[in-house]
Symmetry: C2
Subunit: 81 residues, 2 copies
């Protein structure tokens, strides 16, 4: 069945303590080449039937309502092959 | 600066209560076309300098060590343009 992926990330201007904690831990573990980390959420949605434009619009409304907090988060919706 | 994305998802055989909670909430909010939801994590890593094969290998080791729990999670590493 077709799958739609919604990626939710904090807006760039919002502080991301989880990402900062990961970024601080990496050098301690010997990984030196990574300068910045942002952590977000990924949702894989399995939709019923074909992925039509209407269905994508529904997923977008669901993302705005439930999956993301549009005040502090940005999200992207895409169909995965 | 170049960005590497690490997507971390629970393995398919592992129960995902967060995803189930989202899937159960969607119909209550009027979204009926989504039959299954899996929730995972997305990390955006900014790397220092060029994204070489060595750098990707380092990110992969970091993902195995810190970003994902390979016992219950799968991850993918990809370079974002």
């Amino acid at each position: 069945m077709p799958r739609v992926v919604v990626d939710v990330m904090l807006k760039p201007e919002i502080l991301d303590p989880q990402g900062q904690a990961v970024a601080a831990a990496l050098p301690r573990l010997g990984f030196d080449g990574i300068v910045r980390v942002r952590q977000g959420k990924r949702f894989e949605l399995t939709v019923d039937g074909e992925v039509t434009d209407d269905r994508i619009a529904e997923v977008r409304r669901a993302a705005e309502t439930l999956l993301a907090n549009p005040v502090i988060e940005d999200f992207t919706v895409r169909v995965e092959p």
